[in-house]
Amino acid sequence: MSRETILARLRSSGRSESIDLPETLPDFPAYDDPVEQFRVEIERVGGVFLDARRADSLVECLSGVLAQRGAEQFVWEGSAVFERHQIPVRYLAEQASTEHGFLTSMHADSSVSLPIEVLPAGDLDLPAVQVSVSSAVCAIAETGSIVESTAVAGSRVLPILVPHHVVLVSSSDFVQNSAEFFGQLEPGKRESAQILMTGPSRTADIEKTLIIGVHGPQSLTVIVTG
């Protein structure tokens, strides 16, 4: 058995000296206005920042994103996003369960409530859809990163699949820096996967030339909600 062989080798190879784990982390930067710092950082890496902290401005904001991308509908990560950000919606058909439907789409033809229809579960090939929306659990001011967790609405691939991705994050979910973020993180407690996203998908694999949108989205829009 490889397991016993490897462990036995490690145990027999001896210790040079006793080295303790450091008790505290080195300092990480902190900011007077974390949301503003976040905006600066995300815009620096080509992300878009929208402020919807003012009451009732979120639906307006979302319609603006659709118009800008020349799209007519969103793909939503799931109903949890509506609840988390208090988005008024009405379903177009009777829903058995939105929990296990993969995605729902929204036609932005209303400024009061968003009409929703449920898409078939598990369909990952979505060539017709241009814009996806999900919810973050945290935003890190230091680096302009937003964090999504599968514990919220449950999709690992949605943030990567669609050409334009929109993430909603509540202003109460901002942290100062990555030390604060990882310091409070308990990965695996509630979810199988988390992702830190900072700007759109990019590569510099050919001649060190920066190209936006290789496997993931060409654009990342973060909307801060109240």
Binding site: R3, L10, I19, L21, T150, R156, T203, I206
Partner: protein
């Protein structure tokens, strides 16, 4: 035996390679330096990371067991593999038992180390690399030439030619269009793959979480779309705590790409759970030894297992800058490659690697976890020398005796330098290389020996009234 020397003239004469190396490595170093300059406590971060790594290596058995327990509690399975054969067999077995036909891979140097792709292809599987650079290298039938930028040696014209031939795309040398062509082809591979294989940057023992750092999104897709996700890591990649990720990620990313943070950092804690709408049904972690326990058993060399594969020592190395990655003939290249390769494969398989260094110390200076690379290289040189020669050759011995005799008396030293400068002035100033006979002529071939000045420093000093 893996040789470097025979590859050097070709690499130096390859003008395309020289241009790419200069362009890419200079750019990488500049952005790294700017990113590091913005962190006032960079040295504290380095010290912290080194301490965590050295602590972990002292108790590697404990942390690996803890990692295993947590991964299993999260619903994953752990497979231990002591060598290449065991690792490959485990992966082939998983793929076979699921009747898999297609495997998508995100970047993993370890899978290069164990030559996984040919083994999977032999088992009848379709294997697709999905990192753009790795995909280019795979289409060419080559191996990566850099830890972080695998297709560094390719120009856009070469990539265009390749895509026209292999993907049937319309001729272009626009890098954006080339990238989009790859995106379209690879997206279909993601959606039709049965197994996704990924590497691991860090594995956190306390939570059983794997960290995969990327910019493209291909790692996220590889680890989420197929039914089965297999992650593979060397046993040295485990770290004890989640909180230290803040330090490690900052060091790794700024060193590797000069970014403040990459576009995506994936934290994966097992397979899809109840209530989640996608993600793999099965999750395996392959823990690979393949020579690492041997390195671990040497108390001094153990620190080479602290490497986080940022690749910055390659970028800063004057030897790598000139010969590129392929000349090393090994999976791990540049300074850290020259440390690891002879240890993983034995000094007699890679005897030239420890010598492919000027020992300038730039790698040690820049390493984010402060690995003492030049010191380790020197020690490896000694080992190679002990293994390959029975004492020093006669000529060298004789020269050393004469040298010692001359240097141990002020009179003899003065006399010798007086003689040598007279002879040198006479011959070299007339443009005739003094040393143009073997074995010294080999040294002269590629270097100009400047003429000896008319007066020595001491003579000038005296002529200007300096006192004795």
């Amino acid at each position: 035996m893996i040789e470097i020397k025979p590859n050097i003239p070709g690499a130096l004469a390859n003008q395309q390679l020289q241009r790419n190396l200069k362009h890419t490595l200079t750019g990488s170093l500049e952005s790294r330096n700017a990113a590091v300059a913005a962190v006032p406590n960079w040295q504290d971060l380095r010290n912290h990371a080194r301490q965590v790594k050295l602590h972990t290596l002292e108790r590697l058995d404990l942390y690996l067991e803890r990692l295993e327990t947590k991964i299993e509690a999260n619903g994953g399975k752990v497979v231990w593999a002591e060598d290449t054969a065991a690792a490959v067999a485990a992966i082939v077995e998983i793929a076979r038992s699921r009747s898999a036909r297609k495997v998508v891979k995100s970047k993993s140097m370890l899978t290069e180390e164990i030559h996984l792709n040919p083994a999977l292809e032999d088992a009848g599987l379709d294997v697709v690399e999905t990192d753009l650079g790795e995909y280019i290298v795979q289409l060419c039938g080559e191996v990566p030439s850099h830890l972080v930028t695998p297709a560094l040696h390719k120009s856009k014209e070469e990539v265009a030619e390749l895509f026209i031939e292999k993907l049937g795309m319309t001729p272009t040398d626009d890098i954006g269009e080339l990238t989009q062509a790859a995106r379209r082809v690879l997206r279909q591979h993601f959606l039709s793959a049965d197994v996704g294989i990924s590497g691991v940057n860090f594995a956190v023992a306390e939570t059983g979480t794997l960290v995969v750092v990327e910019n493209e999104g291909n790692a996220r897709l590889s680890t989420s779309v197929p039914r089965t996700h297999i992650a593979i890591m060397g046993i040295e990649k485990v770290i004890p705590r989640v909180s230290d990720l803040a330090v490690f990620l900052k060091l790794l990313i700024r060193s590797a790409t000069g970014q403040k943070v990459t576009s995506y950092i994936n934290l994966i804690s097992g397979p899809r759970r109840a209530g989640e709408v996608d993600g793999p049904e099965e999750f395996y972690l392959i823990l690979v030894d393949n020579g690492r326990t041997k390195v671990h058993s040497d108390l001094h060399f153990r620190q080479s297992l602290a490497c986080i594969r940022c690749g910055i020592c390659l970028n800063v190395c004057p030897v790598f800058q000139k010969i590129g990655g392929h000349a090393y003939g090994s999976v791990y290249q540049g300074p850290i490659g020259s440390v690891l390769t002879p240890q993983f494969l034995s000094e007699s398989v890679a005897p030239q690697h420890p010598f492919a260094s000027s020992l300038c110390g730039a790698c040690k200076e820049i390493c984010p976890v402060k690995i003492e690379i030049p010191d380790l290289l020197l020690e490896l040189r000694q080992r190679v020398q002990e293994k390959t020669t029975k004492g020093r050759p006669f000529g060298e011995k004789a020269a050393m005796i004469v040298w010692a005799w001359m240097m141990t008396s002020p009179f003899r030293y003065k006399l010798a330098s007086w003689l040598v400068t007279r002879i040198a002035r006479r011959f070299i100033s007339k443009g005739k290389p003094l040393l143009n006979f073997p074995p010294l002529s080999a040294w002269q071939k590629k270097r100009d020996l400047p003429p000896i000045p008319a007066r020595s420093l001491k003579e000038l000093y005296r002529a200007r009234g300096g006192r004795k």
